[in-house]
């Protein structure tokens, strides 16, 4: 995982509520055995018509959005299936952070483990972001602060996930270091 400290970027808005992981990456693309290359299929059903042509009104098909690293999405983003292909696809599209007023548990866990920062913001800020005309944001993970429209806002992120992201560490390394405790547990619990 790449270290992530600060993002300064435009953001894309998908205001729909309850965007589930089946929309983020439809099941037909889950037959892969690799993590790579899923970005081209992200939001497939919303992004392409039945002939595979890009739909011009879908935000990720618009030129001004293709370089944005941040997605602001409607309430309860990432619900449904536990497929980690969803954050893999978003990362492969070039995204580094997702912001919503609620983010589903498994998707949030999966994202943080892969270096996709999942940030939950209060409803009022969420509304401002969804309605913004100037879509620019700075996310400072070190100081847990985001800056939007000249205002600073603190945000919460799990301390361990933050540590791993800031330093580009994979949590599996930490878990493997705990082998003595795991051995001890197995010895007493059979």
């Amino acid at each position: 995982m790449e270290a992530l400290k600060r993002i300064e970027s435009c953001f894309v808005v998908l205001p729909e509520e309850n965007i589930d992981t089946d929309q983020i990456i439809p099941a037909q693309f889950l037959t892969t055995t690799s993590r790579e290359g899923l970005g081209q299929h992200a939001f497939h059903h919303w992004r392409y018509d039945e002939n595979g042509q890009p739909k011009p009104d879908f935000p990720f098909n618009q030129a001004e959005n293709t370089h944005c690293q941040v997605l602001v999405a409607g309430h309860n983003f990432g619900c449904g299936s536990s497929r980690e292909h969803a954050p893999w696809a978003l990362l492969d599209m070039g995204l580094k952070a997702v912001i919503s007023s609620e983010i589903a548990d498994i998707f949030r866990n999966n994202s943080l483990k892969n270096g996709l920062l999942a940030i939950v913001v209060p409803e009022s800020l969420h509304r401002q972001l969804l309605q913004a005309s100037e879509r620019k944001i700075i996310i400072d993970l070190e100081n847990q602060q985001l800056t939007f429209a000249g205002q600073h806002h603190a945000f919460e992120v799990d301390g361990f996930a933050r540590h791993c992201m800031l330093n580009g560490l994979d949590p599996l390394g930490f878990l493997l270091e705990q082998q003595p405790a795991i051995d001890a547990y197995e010895n007493t619990h059979g």
Partner: protein, 464 residues
Amino acid sequence: MPKSLFDKVWEAHEVLPQSPDHPGILYIDLHLIHEVTSPQAFTVLRERGLKVRRPDRTLATMDHSTPTLPPDASGQRPYVSEAARRQVEQLQKNCAEFGIELHDYQSPHRGIVHVMAPEMGAVQPGMTVVCGDSHTSTHGAFGALAFGIGTSEVGHVLASQCLLQNKPKSMLVEVKGTPGPGTGAKDIILAIIGQIGIHGGTGHVIEYRGEAISALSMEGRMTLCNMSIEAGARAGMVAPDEKTLAWLKGRPRAPQGADWEAACQRWLALASDPGATFDTVVEVDVEGLKPQITWGTHPGMEGNIDLTLPADDNPDTRKALQYMGEQPGEAMLGRKVDVVFVGSCTNARLSDLREAAAILRGRKIAAHVRMLVVPGSEQVRQQAEAEGLHQIFTEAGAQWREPGCSMCIAMNGDRAGPGELAVSTSNRNFEGRQGQGSRTVLASPATAAASAVRGAIADPREFL
């Protein structure tokens, strides 16, 4: 301090408690794997030169990408794509290389992971169970703490048998009353999701209890816990009781002899202590409940079978009605149905097939309807065939298939077409879930069968 069922299971599996520096470390008793969410985890093991720590606590099957049509004369299975075939073969290779028990096509136990693992008695009360699959919540029916994880975490569990987890919040869903005729566990869980909403359970582990839950069979409790994730919850649990013990007794992996007696004692003691507290408490009254169906594009958009469609006064409702081709104020009853699917880890157990067969016996499905009945496992298939259920289905005009996820996720080529309306006993009615542009109505096996006969959404009570 009085403890809840969830507290007891959690605490018994804490290798290290949560600290300011790291999340808690939770020991996993049973790790279920399937072909879709495991290959990248095995890649990580190979890259790092790691072994599977406890192959004996790991159990694999193949279900999502597998065809439900039989092999041809030369033994070739009709995979939807080369990628699907390769994914299944990769699982076979991974299990062979790392010494994991795999229930392959030859196994009498192969099936949807959440159907076959309980059948084997592999899931027992008080266990921690994970799988790279959100419907792992199914196994909470046995009083296990069971939840879905991502592929990175599949790698963590393969390598360490542990997960980094902070303790979720707890929620009690007390379900009182006696549901009305023609209903079952599916109608109860749809009603619960309708009441608490699809993110009502976010961050929580649910314990279901109350008279309506005690009255459910183990199969019904699996259907109930299965859809906990559709309420946003990580897991759903039901305290073990005599029904749980009776179901487990004699299963291949259940304890035997003196071990069995000791296990029963332990399991019955897992129930929440009187006075145990929960972060959130909800009461759901199912007295006289009518059959439930969904009308929209998530499971919380649901109601009584005789519902009228809501006004399109907010963007989400508008979008859902539009996707489904529906008008505000119309009824769902009588809407033309193109496809009926009886299957999935929610409703493809023997009891579900019996429920559908009871309505189809001696009847024919409407000529324009395509109906698939897909048993949840090889065991279910064999039992259903021994009872002659497959003949009832085929004589009615439905297709009887081989076990697998099939049209629940439409990965293997079984799918509904664009604009088609499918009444489905599965768990997700998301846009395109059953094929791009397809429209899904979630319902019980009885409602699905009744709708197949009528060729339109129908009330199962008219067929009882």
